[in-house]
């Protein structure tokens, strides 16, 4: 790729690194403030306990997994422009996985106790399944990165485990007895499609070769309508014949302006651009950014609205605070920074 080669020599690399590093510093300051003042500086409370950090974690981990799956498909289906760029795609995936892991550390109340996940594991917890799948996916993606596609089973295995990461995240919500909005088998499928969408969108922004661009455009043209269909199926089913609590939660969800922002920004405009916006670089960048933003907003709104409890029957009260927003920006920048550093520092051992 071109992306890899260009990144090593590009004159804009240094300013990019400096800009991303500055945003990472902003994130560190935000986290430091949170650690020193306690988690009461965050917008989360007793009603909404998972906020923008978890939405960002779901988005980043989904994006990373989507990138691994697309890299695997590139090798398995012999997609020109994808398989040649496997190294850059997998470095991007690993960078994003690392960022998502740090996002979770920022979210938990006792980050120094994270080792309890290893020494006192509860293997029936979906959270633990996701932790294990994510750790395994990082290892497989790294092996895949360094060994290439000589072993045909490697892309199959790496892609499968990456898909499991996203599925587990859907299960974290859908297997929760408390979230009436999430208790549906559609959640893992929805998360899987959104992860692939985010991966394809980021690659579209990264300016691959023409053949890959066409493939990514087609992928988005298929994936976006699937997300629409899954949402329509679910909402229509619940509103027509769901239990009363789920109906209340679904109506709250549909009244949330962020839901409609995710529909317009992440679905309507990208589809319009793909259909009628031409194949220009600008169109691809805008489409890619909007799809990723739409995926993030969709995860945010379903996460927050899903925490409405039937006893409250009121819109959930949550607004991210500046430390949370700074933390999410910093972690997102960290993914970009690690990606650029990875392109420069990780040796190429392509088969």
């Amino acid at each position: 790729m071109t992306t890899a080669t260009k990144a090593r020599t590009s004159p804009v690399m240094l300013p990019g690194l400096i800009g991303l590093a500055a945003l990472v510093v902003l994130g560190i300051i935000a986290w430091g403030y949170q650690l020193s003042q306690g988690m009461s500086v965050l917008g989360i409370g007793q009603a909404v306990v998972w906020g923008v950090y978890i939405a960002a974690f779901f988005t980043l981990a989904g994006l990373a997994s989507g990138l691994v799956i697309i890299a695997a498909l590139g090798d398995l289906l012999d997609i020109t422009g994808i398989k040649e760029n496997r190294r850059a795609i997998l470095i991007g995936a690993l960078a994003t996985y690392v960022a998502s892991g740090i996002m979770i550390l920022m979210d938990i109340g006792r980050p120094l106790r994270v080792l309890n996940m290893v020494i006192s594991s509860n293997m029936i917890s979906p959270f633990m399944w996701d932790f294990l799948a994510l750790a395994l996916s990082v290892i497989l993606a790294a092996i895949y990165l360094f060994s290439g596609s000589r072993n045909r089973w490697l892309p199959v295995l790496a892609g499968f485990v990456a898909a499991l990461v996203i599925i587990m995240e859907g299960w974290i919500l859908s297997m929760s007895a408390g979230g009436v909005l999430w208790r549906t088998g559609i959640m893992p499928a929805l998360f899987l499609i959104e992860g692939l969408m985010a991966g394809a969108a980021v690659l579209l922004i990264a300016k691959p070769e023409h053949a890959a661009t066409d493939w990514l455009r087609k992928a988005l043209m298929i994936l976006i309508p699937i997300v629409v269909l899954l949402n329509v199926f679910e909402i229509a089913t619940v509103l027509y014949n769901g239990d009363p609590d789920a109906q209340v939660a679904t109506r709250l969800y549909l009244k949330d302006w962020i839901f409609w922002a995710s529909v317009v920004l992440g679905i309507v405009v990208p589809i319009a651009l793909l259909l009628w916006g031409g194949k220009t670089r600008t169109t691809h960048i805008i489409t890619g950014i909007l799809v990723v933003l739409g995926v993030f907003l969709a995860k945010y709104v379903i996460l927050v609205a899903g925490q409405a409890q039937p006893y409250m029957l009121a819109p959930v009260d949550y607004t991210p605070t500046l430390p949370e927003i700074g933390g999410v920006i910093g972690i997102s920048a960290l993914a970009g920074l690690l990606f650029l550093l990875g392109l420069r520092l990780i040796p190429s051992k392509e088969s």
Binding site: V49, I108, G109, S121, F127, S176
Partner: protein, 201 residues
């Protein structure tokens, strides 16, 4: 043995004495409620009415919170109480997401003053040592009082005796007789957690 509680909603007057007794006994910080009384309005004037639903940890037989806890910080004890080991809790709050009853509480800042700028009162200084910042805690049926042979603080405080507490496995206990006589029901039975807190409505 399985500790349980039956709450007679018809008796509850929504005075929140149980809420205050709980806060006082357990020394929870501002904004933290291990138990609360939800006030629901129904109907329209002149047939409008209030309904009061005391909510606390349901000490479920199959607790969703314990099942999802990634580090086994929440465990089911032999006496039926769902116990939180604060020293293990990593503060991921998945248990709060999983709880169908919205009764677990996140201790974001357990040293918050009730009277900002006045410093901690001697009572706050003593009680806040029981809590840990960044962890999730909840009602435990006043385990410390049970160890002394006393009923939970909320039960003994209720002015209308809306709550009956005891061993649900003992067929001769008051609570078992009440269950047999009045057939109280759990909230949200569809959650499948088999609560030990039942309601007469």
């Amino acid at each position: 043995m399985r500790y349980g509680m039956v709450i007679n909603i018809q008796r509850c007057i929504g005075c929140d004495a149980c809420t205050v007794a709980c806060k006082s006994h357990n020394g929870t910080s501002p904004g933290i409620f291990w138990r609360k009384v939800v006030k629901l309005e129904s109907g329209t004037y002149p047939a409008a009415r209030y309904q009061f639903i005391p909510l606390l940890c349901n000490q479920c037989d199959d607790p969703a919170c314990a099942n999802v806890c990634p580090v086994k910080a929440t465990v089911k004890l032999a006496n039926g109480i769902v116990h939180v080991d604060l020293d293990k809790c990593i503060g991921c709050r998945y248990c709060m997401i999983a709880c169908p009853y919205d009764v677990r509480q996140f201790e974001a800042n357990p040293e918050a003053e009730y009277f900002p700028g006045k410093g901690l009162s001697p009572w706050e200084e003593i009680m806040y040592t029981k809590h840990q910042a960044g962890t999730v805690d909840k009602c435990n049926f006043c385990e410390d009082r049970l160890a002394q042979g006393l009923d939970p603080a909320c039960v003994v405080t209720c002015p209308v005796e809306a709550m009956t507490f005891g061993d649900m496995d003992d067929p001769n206990s008051e609570i078992s007789k009440l269950i047999a006589a009045r057939n109280p029901q759990p909230l949200k039975p569809e959650a499948g957690t088999n609560p030990a807190v039942l309601y007469i409505s």
